[in-house]
């Protein structure tokens, strides 16, 4: 076991001699902190919140080990508590369990093996607890998302359907074919909006649940692919699309995530153009270095007002009424980037345009979480 892997433990005792011998015995197996009093112990714990196991002597002049654990539990509930004592009258044992919520009770004189195994058990217990806490937080976040999601389902999915039903009802009573055609056009774009929304949900769950697969990316092929997608969709009519790729190293990334990020950013860039602008422009730039890859998606469109910038990555947030956004795109971008440990940055000026800068670390799974 090397130093980094050793778990941190704290031993509290009012006799320096005991502290020294404890440290001498266990310093090879654990990273040992010691404290001469309960006050000092709390200070050590506050400075080192990652201490997993605390062992305390019961008999100390300022307060008993049980009293110390009771106090500590209120302030720092996570570390696992082990009480060491030479006096094992039933009252103090009851106290230790009921008030100090101790994990183990070690009787003096202890053997090294007993203590080491108690600490190991305590560490396992700590890991289980922390995992459970993390899982609970994740679960809560998932529930919150689900609530938001079900709310938006009624609006973003039911809304377009109701509109189309309403329109069909009107068409029944119409004789003028031109008027019928006008409504059919509106129905078409409403259904396209619904389709976009369903597609983005599908994308979202693909990245949310899917396994990442890091492999070398053929950047030029990806650029050609997205160019084709937007060309076919007719989004490039009257919008110039420039691409440039500067590659000094291979790009290793999850292809699905990368495509989702590019598609959403480009779709926004094409969508939120200034209608009156004579020279509409969207630029996609790849700069692949050894350390990292930087992608720019730049447009000279309507821009994002400063007051909306902090909200643009939120689920279902929409900062403009122009065109048919779902408020889902940038949320998905942010989520995909988190999965590959990337980062996103935006610079935007209203009526001048927006530039998104995406940074992807060289090997997505290398960065510590």
């Amino acid at each position: 076991m090397n130093t980094q892997e050793k778990i941190k433990i704290l031993y509290v005792d009012d006799e320096q001699h005991n502290l020294n011998s404890f440290k001498a015995t266990f310093r090879f197996s654990f990273q040992v902190y010691t404290a001469l009093s309960s006050d000092l112990a709390l200070e050590v714990l506050k400075k080192n919140p990652d201490i997993r196991v605390v062992l305390s002597d019961q008999r100390m002049p300022d307060k008993t080990g049980v009293q110390f654990f009771e106090e500590m539990r209120g302030l720092l509930p996570d570390p696992i508590r082990i009480l060491i004592t030479g006096y094992s009258d039933i009252e103090s044992v009851i106290d230790a369990v009921n008030r100090g919520h101790i994990f183990r009770y070690i009787k003096k004189p202890w053997t090294d093996a007993d203590v080491a195994s108690a600490i190991d058990e305590a560490n396992k217990f700590y890991i289980t607890n922390t995992l459970l806490k993390e899982r609970n937080e994740e679960l809560q976040a998932a529930y919150d998302e689900l609530d938001k999601f079900s709310y938006s389902i009624t609006h973003d999915m039911r809304g377009p359907l109701l509109s189309v039903l309403g329109a069909m009802d009107i068409i029944k009573h119409l004789d003028d074919l031109n008027e019928v055609r006008e409504i059919l056009d509106l129905m078409g774009s409403t259904l396209n909006r619904l389709d976009d929304f369903i597609k983005s949900i599908h994308e979202y769950y693909k990245i949310k649940r899917g396994q990442l697969e890091f492999k070398e990316i053929d950047v030029n092929a990806i650029v050609n692919e997205v160019t084709d997608i937007f060309k076919v969709a007719g989004r490039m009519d009257q919008i110039e699309f420039k691409t440039s790729v500067e590659q000094h190293a291979p790009l290793i990334c999850d292809e699905v995530s990368l495509k989702i990020i590019l598609n959403n950013l480009l779709s926004n860039a094409f969508k939120y153009q200034q209608k009156s602008n004579e020279h509409k422009l969207v630029e996609l730039t790849f700069n692949i270095e050894k350390e990292k890859t930087v992608i720019f998606v730049k447009d000279n469109g309507i821009g994002i007002p400063t007051e909306h910038i902090e909200n643009i990555y939120k689920m279902f947030y929409r900062g403009t009424t122009q065109d048919s956004g779902s408020g889902f795109g940038l949320f998905i971008v942010k989520d995909s980037l988190e999965k590959i440990n990337g980062a996103i940055d935006v610079q935007s000026v209203v009526n001048e345009g927006t530039t998104f800068k995406v940074t992807i670390p060289v090997k997505g799974n290398d960065t510590v979480k």
């Binding site: 809304g159 509109s163 309403g166 009802d169 509106l186 409403t190």
Partner: protein, 133 residues
């Protein structure tokens, strides 16, 4: 409610199709002196602020709850801050496709909201509501 000679309509909805449907349904009643549609709440409130106030005219507003930037409730809040001389000329109806309890409960907090209507607006519920004016 006092009998008004002329009934105007304002539709506020970010979906062009929904505006179109509402306009059509309202027009088919034959009771509308004028119909105006706005795709954003902001443009609608600007219109209400600057529109001339005519004697014997009343305006019914249909406003969608979920709209980007400024939603239906934001619209109502700004509307309720306007002078009485303006607000008494309007009746607001909230329209939505959501069957969300939070939204339904919120409707009760705004005295100027006459009623909550589910989408789509149909000739039946328009006819019913016009008969009250």
């Amino acid at each position: 409610m006092t009998q008004s000679n002329k009934l105007n309509f304002i539709i506020v909805d970010d979906s062009p199709l929904d505006c179109f449907i509402a306009e059509k349904v309202v027009r088919n009643t034959g009771k509308a002196a004028s119909i105006k549609s706005f795709l954003t709440a902001k443009s609608a409130i600007n219109y209400v602020v600057s529109a001339p106030l005519n004697e014997n005219e009343h305006t019914i507003i249909f406003v969608d709850i979920q709209m980007p930037v400024m939603n239906g409730f934001d619209f109502v809040e700004q509307f309720e801050a306007l002078p009485m001389a303006i607000t008494c000329r309007y009746s607001i109806f909230m329209v939505s496709s959501s069957i969300n309890d939070t939204d339904l409960n919120r409707v009760g907090n705004y005295p100027s909201i006459k009623q909550f209507l589910n989408k789509p607006i149909t000739s039946n519920n328009i006819a019913m509501l016009i008969s009250n004016f």
